[in-house]
Amino acid sequence: MAARVARDIPEGAYVNLGIGLPTLVANHLPRDREILLHSENGLLGMGPAPDLGAQDPDLINAGKQPVTLLPGGAYFHHADSFAMMRGGHLDFCVLGAFQVSLRGDLANWHTGAAGAIPAVGGAMDLAIGAKNVYVMMEHQTKSGQSKITERCTYPVTAFQCVSRIYTDLAVIDVTAHGLVVLAIVDGLAFDELQRLTGVPLTNAAAGVAA
């Protein structure tokens, strides 16, 4: 999944990778492509994790893990960092999700469960701000329900914001005409994917557009 997302991010892109699964994308970005990673706590041009012993507590990413800065990278304060998001300057963000609806509503910040302490961080800002919002998630919940749904039953992060969904089973674009399947994992038939998903899909490979 991470490798596929990385392959789709073009040269020159400004990208924010969310906490969790999306962080893995960084490991797959082609070394011959200049891609600038943004971290919401205040840096642009984020490099790989430092060697053991070279960690600097003042140089961390949004997940509070030690990172490095590439030559040409920059530090800035929080209001500037979120201006980059909210102001539409980031080309891509990649986020984890609990659910994505048919029309691209995203739920990824709060389960809404009684007693759960809500925490939102920059999820809502990223979801409304980046030019392309990519979601990376398992296709189904552990109990076998599709995470792509008619509407989100979890509290929504932002409405109609997701542009593409990467799951362990498929890559799906969210379009004005509905969900369009761009790729399916080897050995899985479109009809089977449709059965597992539960909301209407269009197969781009078959050239059928609604």
Partner: protein, 257 residues
């Protein structure tokens, strides 16, 4: 030699006046200790605390605030403390009535978690960019602003909205503070500050948003030593500067969120 001759041309009376003026009116925001810097923070104050996790967290000032004893505080920070030091220690001392933050829940935020579940602390959860912009707005004298972040969500319930050029926005108000406690790398007696790497985070915007900004710095330098081209927070936003040793520590790997 030239300097000597020039000084001799100044009449004694004027020279005395100049010296006196220099001594009495000299701006000096350097405070000798963290305790002295936080001594007058009153009960019920709204206190902004810089930092993202532990990077930029002014732990020395927080410890001094705990020792000082002010209670019934409202705290503004991105998080709600890690483990038991810094902000977490302040929460544990039960001096905090309310916290305004974006990401309280972390795997080592157990101090906050317990207070929250016991109903002993009020939480105002704000999307991180709205938090930053509300702080920035306070410092910039903005009365309120429309933001697209959070529109239609639980965190915008009951808030005024507006449709502008086909896009939905939520009205958000500034967050002002009585005091900001921030951490910078170097500062001078006029309060000019530069930061270190991602420890900058909320420092510059909180400095502008508070009536009294207290900066903990690693090193106090002479006026003119900070390159004016790279001063991040001009001294007008800072009231007190304290030199304190102490670097941040990394959040334990499994604790990050």
């Amino acid at each position: 030699m030239a300097r000597e001759r020039a000084s001799q041309r100044i009449p004694d009376r004027l020279r005395l006046a100049l010296t006196k003026c220099k001594n009495e009116a000299m701006i000096n925001k350097i405070v000798a200790s963290a305790a002295a810097a936080v001594a007058d923070i009153p009960h019920g104050a709204t206190v902004m605390i810089g930092g993202f996790g532990t990077a930029g967290m002014p732990s020395g000032l927080i410890d001094a605030l705990i020792a000082q004893g002010a209670c019934d505080l409202t705290i503004v920070n991105n998080n709600a403390g890690n483990a038991e030091t810094g902000l977490a220690a302040l929460l544990k001392s039960k001096r905090v009535r309310k916290i305004i933050c974006s990401f309280p829940r972390q795997t080592d935020s157990y101090v906050f978690d317990a207070l929250y579940h016991a109903g002993e602390i009020e939480l105002e959860l704000v999307p991180q960019g709205n938090l930053a912009e509300r702080i920035r707005a306070a410092g910039a004298g903005i009365g309120a602003f429309f933001t697209p972040t959070g529109y239609g969500t639980l965190l915008a319930e009951g808030k005024e909205t507006r449709l502008i050029d086909g896009r939905h926005y939520v009205l958000e108000y500034p967050i002002h503070a009585d005091v900001a406690l921030i951490k910078a790398d170097r500062g001078d007696r006029w309060g000019n500050l530069v930061y270190r790497k991602t420890a900058r985070n909320f420092g510059p915007i909180m400095a502008a948003a508070a009536k009294c900004t207290i900066a903990q710095v690693r090193e106090v330098v002479e006026l003119g030593e900070l390159d004016p081209e790279v001063i991040v927070t001009p001294g007008i936003f800072v009231q007190r500067v304290v030199q304190l040793a102490g670097a941040a520590t990394l959040v334990q790997p499994q604790a990050a969120a």
